[in-house]
């Protein structure tokens, strides 16, 4: 990933400020140095012009923060080269050959010297180079200091401003992360920085195209399942005719009939799955869970009877829930159908409904072989079949059940029985108002 916006902005800004700062300091240094030298040289000359033979008055009041090093060193000689006056502690600077400025080394220090020669005397005014450099440096530092202070200050200010901007992006991120796979609404543009808006707009475009592609896929699935019904119907009729012609030889046709039936079941389940992927279209209504459970049990009763599976139902409460009725029917049907399907002859399937204060629980318990070992996590996968050796079942039932539970807000668990017997316990918990029976 490329480095963060904040870090990039800050490092460029720091670089820029550093370059500007260095350039400013250099220019200031050179400029101030030249100006200061000119000014100080002028001072040296002025002092030399005005220096008289009379000694310095010892009682002159000192200047604030007086540094002895800052002093000018003044030497006055007479016509014969004898010292007439020499500043206290001043350097021993030799007599210069002619009037004017000179740079002289004395006592390990560099000095700037102005010499004024006349017939009767020679005046030398000297100033330490170091003092002059200090003045120039402090002037340059004075110019550079604000820039040096601006660098960390810019970090704080820019960092804060970027943070504010990024927080808005963070809100955008949370908004996108919270979206369901089926959300169709575009991502809102309010609060999005204008530079980011085109990105969000193109994402919206992408979402739109993806939705269209998904819709097309779903339509294809639904259409394909639909189209399969006609040839399946034809096959079913042919099989029925064949069976009718060869009365008594039904066993010949039975596997064929079973195959057609299974294909039909698969097509129907594919269709319901395709429909369930639609966002909840029809509104929820109040459903009587017990009545629906009873109907689902009644639907399976003939099959269970033929198979020799004993089906029982125990409605312990009247529970009214809010859900899509067709969904609830399908869900109960799938679970009971599975229970009967996987329970061998002589086994039993028990469906029950119990109520709590504001919820209802439907339980469907069978005495089949239970969930396939180690594959429990896969039971909700599409086309996963618990017992692939058994030729029945489409592998879509529990995928449908889970989808229904999700979109109606039910809690669905399908697991092995915990009471020591083999078998599956499917449990649906839903919000419901209820009345106890009798």
């Amino acid at each position: 990933m490329t480095p963060s916006l904040r870090r990039t902005a800050l490092s460029w800004m720091t670089g820029l400020l550093t370059v500007v700062g260095l350039a400013t300091v250099t220019i200031a240094y050179v400029y101030v140095r030249d100006q200061t030298n000119e000014f100080l040289d002028g001072q040296l000359r002025q002092i030399a012009l005005n220096a008289g033979a009379s000694p310095v008055m010892a009682n002159a009041p000192p200047a604030a923060d007086h540094d002895p090093e800052d002093q000018f060193a003044i030497t006055i000689r007479d016509g014969q080269g004898r010292n007439v006056h020499r500043s206290a502690g001043g350097p021993d600077i030799p007599s210069q050959p002619k009037s004017g400025f000179a740079d002289v080394a004395s006592g390990g220090e560099g000095w700037r010297v102005y010499t004024l020669k006349a017939d009767d005397r020679e005046v030398q005014v000297a100033q330490q180079d170091e003092v002059r450099a200090e003045i120039v440096e402090s002037a340059a530092i004075g110019v550079a200091a604000p820039i040096v202070i601006v660098i960390p200050l810019s970090w704080i200010v820019v960092g804060w401003a970027m943070g504010r901007m990024l927080r808005r992006l963070g809100a955008l991120e949370a908004e996108i992360a919270a979206r369901g796979a089926l959300a169709r609404e575009p991502i809102p543009l309010e609060g999005v920085p204008s530079e980011i808006a085109p990105l969000v707009e193109s994402m919206n475009g992408l979402i739109e195209r993806l939705r269209a592609a998904v819709d097309a896929q779903k339509r294809f699935l639904a259409d394909a399942a639909h189209e399969l019904r006609t040839p399946l119907a034809a096959m079913q009729i042919q099989v029925d005719n064949l069976a009718a012609e060869r009365e008594g030889l039904l066993t010949d046709v039975a596997p064929l009939a079973a195959g057609v039936k299974r294909a039909s079941a698969l097509v129907n389940q594919l269709l319901s799955l395709a429909r369930l992927d639609e966002p909840l279209a029809t509104g929820r209504e109040r459903i009587d869970v017990g009545a629906l459970l009873l109907e689902a049990v009644a639907d399976i009763a003939p099959i269970a009877d033929r198979k020799g599976v004993d089906v029982g139902v125990d409605i312990r409460a009247v529970a009214i829930s809010e859900a899509v009725e067709a969904d609830a029917r399908t869900l109960l049907g799938v679970l009971i159908d599975n229970a009967v399907r996987y329970t061998p002859s002589g086994g039993s399937v028990d469906a029950s409904l119990s109520g709590a204060v504001d919820s209802a629980a439907v339980e469907i318990v069978d005495t089949g072989p239970g969930l396939p070992n180690g594959q429990e996590h896969r039971i909700f996968d599409r086309f996963f079949r618990g017992r692939p050796d058994g030729s029945e079942g489409t592998g879509l039932g529990l995928a449908i059940a889970l989808r229904i539970a999700e979109r109606n807000g039910f809690e669905l668990t399908v697991e092995n029985r915990a009471d020591g017997r083999t078998g599956v316990r499917a449990r649906i918990v839903m919000q419901a108002t209820q009345e106890q029976v009798g």
Binding site: A233, A234, M235, Q236, N241, A244, L294, V297, V311
Partner: protein, 219 residues
């Protein structure tokens, strides 16, 4: 008995025709909406099977046309569509029954027979659930090879169950239907009646759902 089959898919049509002929019916087959409208208007059919997805004209338009023309032939809509709206639409427009593809031949035959019976004015007297038929007037119960006139209480019990095949009735609901108000009911009276019916017609004529009650299968 003449049956009109309106179906554009020849595989289905031919299969249906074979099945119907085997059941002793004579069949006319048309493949599109215009022919269907003409056949319905001019022919005299005991029943018409109408596929909704037709070339030329939609099956529902054919139905609308036929009813507007005063054709009273019972129409059994056969469709691959199973949306609730399609069903309601078809029945509103004057279809007498509908069947969703794929279907079993014996179910198609049962529906045709039921429509013909209803047309003949015997609709209110006969109840059908799968292979079981109950005549409300003669109290004759027929299932497969067996048919027998039921005693009053057994008939009342079967009548209660067959009014809504596929629906479970509890013991209390059955007792309420069989016995008059204030009549003394033995605790095992319902069991005795069911045992008697099952002995004559087979165990699966009435199904028991433990904890809930009894029912007859829809098919």
């Amino acid at each position: 008995m003449r049956v009109l089959v309106v179906e554009d898919d020849s595989m289905i049509a031919q299969g249906v025709i074979v099945g119907l002929k085997a059941a002793g019916m004579s069949v006319d087959w048309v493949r599109d909406g215009l022919q269907a409208e003409a056949a319905l208007r001019d022919g005299d059919y005991a029943v018409a099977l109408l596929d909704l997805g037709l070339p030329g004209a939609d099956g529902l338009d054919v139905l609308k046309f036929a009813r507007r023309e005063g054709v009273e032939t019972p129409v059994l809509v056969v469709t691959a569509r199973d949306g609730v709206d399609d069903r309601v639409g078809g029945l509103d427009l004057g279809a007498d029954d509908y069947l969703v593809k794929p279907f079993e031949m014996r179910e198609l035959l049962a529906r045709i027979r039921a429509l013909v019976r209803r047309r003949a004015g015997r609709a209110t007297s006969g109840l059908v659930a799968g292979a079981t038929e109950l005549d409300a007037e003669t109290h004759l119960l027929a299932r497969g090879e067996v048919s027998e006139v039921l005693p009053a209480r057994e008939f009342a019990l079967m009548m209660a169950l067959m009014e809504r095949p596929g629906r479970i009735l509890s013991r209390a609901q059955i007792e309420e239907r069989i016995y008059g108000w204030g009549e003394e009911v033995e605790s095992n009276a319902v069991d005795v009646l069911i045992h008697s019916i099952r002995r004559k017609f087979g165990k699966d004529v009435i199904l028991n759902v433990r904890g809930a009650g009894w029912m007859v299968a829809k098919r």
